[in-house]
């Protein structure tokens, strides 16, 4: 019995058991004990993930639950957990972000009961299970577990009307996505007689894919793409993020939605090696997601929604990178982005606790209180916004630089443009709120977009000062993002993990027991002079863009009107598509599934 045989099941069941313990004993235990136990569980999960990465650097490890190891040559009936560095690394990310969220809510949710901690632990278990599962149905079960817990967490503030609407929309859209994935799994099972990813891939390999195989794969991928919030399945994400408690947004944005991309890459690499059309379609979907996310990010005034659209844009970039040459880069980008974005969400949560609003216009200059804690928060926010733009030495910048090196030239403008525009929007909001830069925008009742007023506080009353844990959590997450960028070990493991994830052959060989295939060790992700220069330049571009937007308020309305007339209707049209109506979102889901299905099936079968 080796490390993986013990740790892989513990990484999934540990948080579940701890969640049960917290839920049962939470009634009698004092709050600090619950906080400490849950926090220890999250940190333990991260350590567990790190050990899993260490144990699988040489080759993927497979552990059959309950000792149901299939004899050589026989078909498996057991459930396998498969660990490779990418899966282990994502477990670390889940643990770190859960720890950050729990640390932040130490004093934040004054009235919170143990069920919040229990839900966060269950949520972590769902994500860990999804990452480690070696067969399609187990993946789906954990997908549903993380989904169901996520709906409950999104609608956690059950007295707030918006929160309920966002939670319900999230639930309906994601459940339907999961059912489509289940249909796909059923079709693949009927076609291949297998559920294990590796065996499905083995059965389908070496032959021209037929109708059922293509339909099955596409349906499964659509399910995962709904979770990844790729266009046109992205509508739920902004709604869910705008309403979920801020510590929960950290997990949603940092790791839950990116796990959809992980699922897409895993399934297409292992189970669908012979469907080349898939790659092109996924690249297009990713690029459109990035551009649309960036455009909609700019026009938001609700800070949480603004950050949510920035996440959508970055997920688009991950999808582009993962499917088109950037395999070695995108996991580092994901980790760096998670730290930075998590810190930004927590700082916005701090604003909600201090000032009772997350509206950019409403809060203009609110952060200039002279309170030292608010000054620290302001500085952290600006640094995080710059890191999002690609400022060295943060991990987001390192991942972006490596992505620009690896993707085809035509996609580089998308990567650069998306990071500049989203970071400029985030910075603009921060400069307005924390420093009062630029004229105060006119207050207006906005019928087209969600404002950030009237959001229920997550503390019992208005906090007079930001507490130490509320500043420590974002500072630590930001420091973690810097570590991702600085530590050469992470660049090396990230590159290895990304390449191995994209190489389904090694995974199949490990599960089938046909001997581990040692892939070439990829070039580590590290800072090169051109990457540093572009990082600094994109950061400068984001700053300039943000300042331009802020001073444009001083330009007479007469001069601004032509610009507004030119692009206004297009952006307004896009915004109106995001109607908050669950029926519209499901219609887009069906449309997107049909388009992706036709785009993949036509060249493959025709």
């Amino acid at each position: 019995m080796n490390t993986v045989d013990v740790l892989a099941p513990v990484a999934v069941t540990g948080p579940v058991l701890l969640a049960c313990l917290v839920l049962v004993a939470g009634r009698w235990l004092p709050r600090p004990v619950i906080d400490a136990v849950a926090l220890a569980g999250a940190v333990g999960l991260a350590v567990c993930g790190a050990l899993l990465v260490h144990a699988t650097l040489a080759g993927d490890a497979v552990t059959w639950l309950g000792g149901w190891t299939p004899p050589p040559g026989a078909h498996p009936v057991g459930i396998a957990l498969v660990v490779d560095p990418a899966a282990g690394g994502l477990v670390v990310l889940v643990g770190v972000l859960a720890a950050g969220a729990l640390l932040f809510s130490w004093r934040y949710f004054a009235s919170v009961e143990a069920r919040f901690h229990g839900l966060v632990l269950l949520f972590s278990a769902g994500m860990t299970g999804f990452v480690l599962a070696g067969d399609l149905f187990t993946m789906l079960v954990f997908f549903e577990l993380m989904g169901a817990v996520a709906y409950a967490l999104a609608a956690y503030k059950i007295e707030e009307p918006r929160s309920l609407q966002g939670g319900l929309t999230f639930g309906v859209v994601n459940s339907l996505g999961a059912y489509l994935a289940l249909c796909g799994i059923g079709v693949l099972y009927a076609r291949t007689g297998q559920l294990s990813l590796a065996y499905v891939g083995e059965t389908l390999a070496g032959a021209r894919p037929d109708g059922p195989a293509v339909v099955g794969i596409v349906l499964v991928l659509v399910g995962w793409l709904v979770k990844a919030a790729a266009v046109p399945f992205h509508f739920w994400l902004a709604d869910a993020h705008a309403v979920a408690p801020t510590p929960v947004c950290v997990l949603f944005s940092g790791v839950m939605a990116p796990l959809g991309v992980y699922g897409v890459v895993r399934v297409s690499a292992v189970a669908a090696p012979e469907v080349p059309a898939l790659r092109g379609v996924l690249v297009v979907v990713g690029a459109v997601t990035a551009v649309l996310g960036a455009v909609l990010c700019v026009v938001q005034r609700n800070l949480k929604r603004l950050l949510a659209y920035s996440t959508i844009a970055h997920i688009g970039l991950f999808l582009v990178g993962a499917t088109d040459g950037g395999a070695r880069a995108w996991l580092v980008y994901l980790a760096g982005h998670a730290g930075v974005k998590a810190a930004l969400f927590l700082l916005v949560g701090g604003l909600l606790a201090r000032f009772g609003s997350v509206d950019e216009i409403d809060l203009h200059g609110a952060g200039r209180t002279g309170d030292p804690a608010d000054r620290v928060a302001a500085a952290l926010y600006v640094v995080a916004a710059l890191a999002l733009a690609g400022l060295p030495p943060f991990g987001a910048g390192l991942g972006k630089a490596a992505l620009e090196e690896s993707v085809p030239g035509a996609l580089v403008p998308v990567v650069v443009g998306t990071s500049v525009v989203t970071a400029a929007a985030v910075l603009r909001a921060g400069l307005r709120v924390f420093y009062g830069v630029g004229p105060r925008p006119e207050r207006r009742v906005d019928l087209e977009r969600t404002s950030g007023e009237g959001e229920e506080r997550e503390t019992t009353g208005r906090l007079r000062h930001a507490t130490a844990t509320m500043l420590a959590a974002p500072a630590l997450l930001l420091a973690a993002a810097a570590v991702v960028g600085v530590l050469p070990l992470i660049g090396r493991v990230g590159a290895l993990a990304g390449e191995r994830l994209a190489d389904g052959g090694a995974y199949r060989a490990a599960v089938l027991g046909t001997g581990a295939v040692a892939g070439a060790v990829p070039e580590p992700v590290s800072w090169h002079p051109p990457g540093v220069v572009t990082g600094v330049l994109t950061t400068a571009a984001a700053v300039v863009l943000a300042l331009l937007v802020l001073v444009s308020g001083r330009v007479p309305a007469r001069r601004r009107r032509p610009v507004r007339r030119a692009i206004g209707p297009v952006v307004l049209g896009l915004e109106r598509l995001h109607s908050g109506h669950v029926g519209d979102y499901v219609a887009w889901l069906l449309f997107g599934a049909a388009v992706i299905g036709i785009a993949v099936a036509a060249p493959t079968l025709g």
């Binding site: 609608a155 009307p161 609407q165 319900l168 929309t169 339907l176 249909c183 908050g580 029926g583 069906l590």
Partner: protein
């Protein structure tokens, strides 16, 4: 053959009609039920995938499988798991619907105007 075709058609039809039900829904309770209808399609699909003409129920005695073939027990286990998931999600979404009725004063998705843009 024909039975298989009918089963697969019914499965696809249920998923599609459930999804269209959500699109055209004017009441959130109806939305949640339509979601359950879509999920019923997946049950039919899975059972159809494991069906075998002339096979018996997959309950094997102590002596192991006899001479007669049995239908695939794996899909039936999957359907059971699926039903548990469905019950959880439906209960959660209906609870949210009750709360929406209290806080918004309506269950018509067309009148929920809190989130947009």
């Amino acid at each position: 053959m024909t039975l298989t075709v009918v089963a697969w058609t019914v499965a696809g039809w249920l998923v599609l009609v459930g999804a269209l039900g959500i699109v055209r829904s004017r009441d959130l309770v109806h939305t949640v039920v339509a979601l359950s209808v879509a999920q019923s399609g997946t049950y039919v699909l899975l059972i159809a995938a494991g069906f075998q003409r002339g096979a018996t129920v997959p309950i094997l005695g102590a002596g192991g499988a006899g001479s007669s073939p049995v239908v695939d027990p794996l899909v039936q286990a999957m359907v059971l798991t699926d039903i548990v998931v469905s019950a959880t999600v439906t209960a959660l979404l209906l609870a949210l619907t009750i709360q929406i009725a209290k806080r918004h004063g309506t269950v018509d998705p067309d009148e929920l105007r809190a989130l947009r843009g």
